[in-house]
Symmetry: C2
Subunit: 186 residues, 2 copies
Amino acid sequence: MTQLYFITGNKGKFHEAAEKLRPYGYTVVQNDIGYPEIQAESLTDVVTWAVSDIQKRVNHAFMIEDAGLFIEPLKGFPGVYSKYVFFTIGLSGILRLLRSEENRKAVFRSVYAYSKPGRKTLVVTGECIGTIAKQQRGGHGFGYDPIFIPRNEEKTFGEMSMEEKNQFSHRAKALEKLIAALNKNK
Amino acid sequence: MTQLYFITGNKGKFHEAAEKLRPYGYTVVQNDIGYPEIQAESLTDVVTWAVSDIQKRVNHAFMIEDAGLFIEPLKGFPGVYSKYVFFTIGLSGILRLLRSEENRKAVFRSVYAYSKPGRKTLVVTGECIGTIAKQQRGGHGFGYDPIFIPRNEEKTFGEMSMEEKNQFSHRAKALEKLIAALNKNK
């Protein structure tokens, strides 16, 4: 088993990654040392910048992740600030902004970066395309799950079990890409 | 005259500071070298962090500024992300979020930080308390000016001349505090 340090304060993300990576021979170890996130328009900018900061303090391989919900008629809002927006205007704020809006297209995005001394940093993106529901539905998941409906589905993420959701999850897709890239670069 | 480097890409902020500081014997020089802004809950955290980053690259005195609009019923939103929110959901988004909201209290905040080698960094805050208008009014100013009414006034910042606005301006107040602190620390 190869140890893989995941720098995150989020236990949910850690467990998800640990389960996903175990069958591929990786033991994920959570490392909550924290790092600064810059204000930027894309998740890729946020994680790339964070990687160069962490590399100054950490001399072994590690990975980090950042995610966000990008709503098309709101020009990508809340995007990289999804967490902040969730804790201020919340789901009801998002629904209010979209009231009487026909275009409800949105995409959940997850970006993983993997850094190893002497190697080029790997950055992978996973996406889940969908729409914003007219109202909150379901008590599963967290964050924007109760208002996000993946494409070709009727239920929101909030109405799905973890297994159902993981078929579509942006984070699961990003992890799969990361695994493929790691195996290729072994 | 003492030269004072203002690190900013914003010409408006630069001119405002230059005019305000000239009578006190300071020549403000604009220096647009850029710096990262972190995601944080307070402007003070953003500027303090930026100062330590800039200090690694700049070996003379400099100042920076960050500002935002904090709306009470929206838990401080858009706050440190005011610029991003302005360019995504915009003023109409803010008004929509506050529709049928009785409490329209808001505060414009500006934080200046001044760093000089061998000295403790000065951080000062200026505030302008007010309310959010029911609709946009006036073509003056920029950003959130057309929806912000300072306390005890009827007009929005967007309906005021530069001179009128500067009586209340959070940025002007912060600059006054900075001048006082600089004179005290001479």
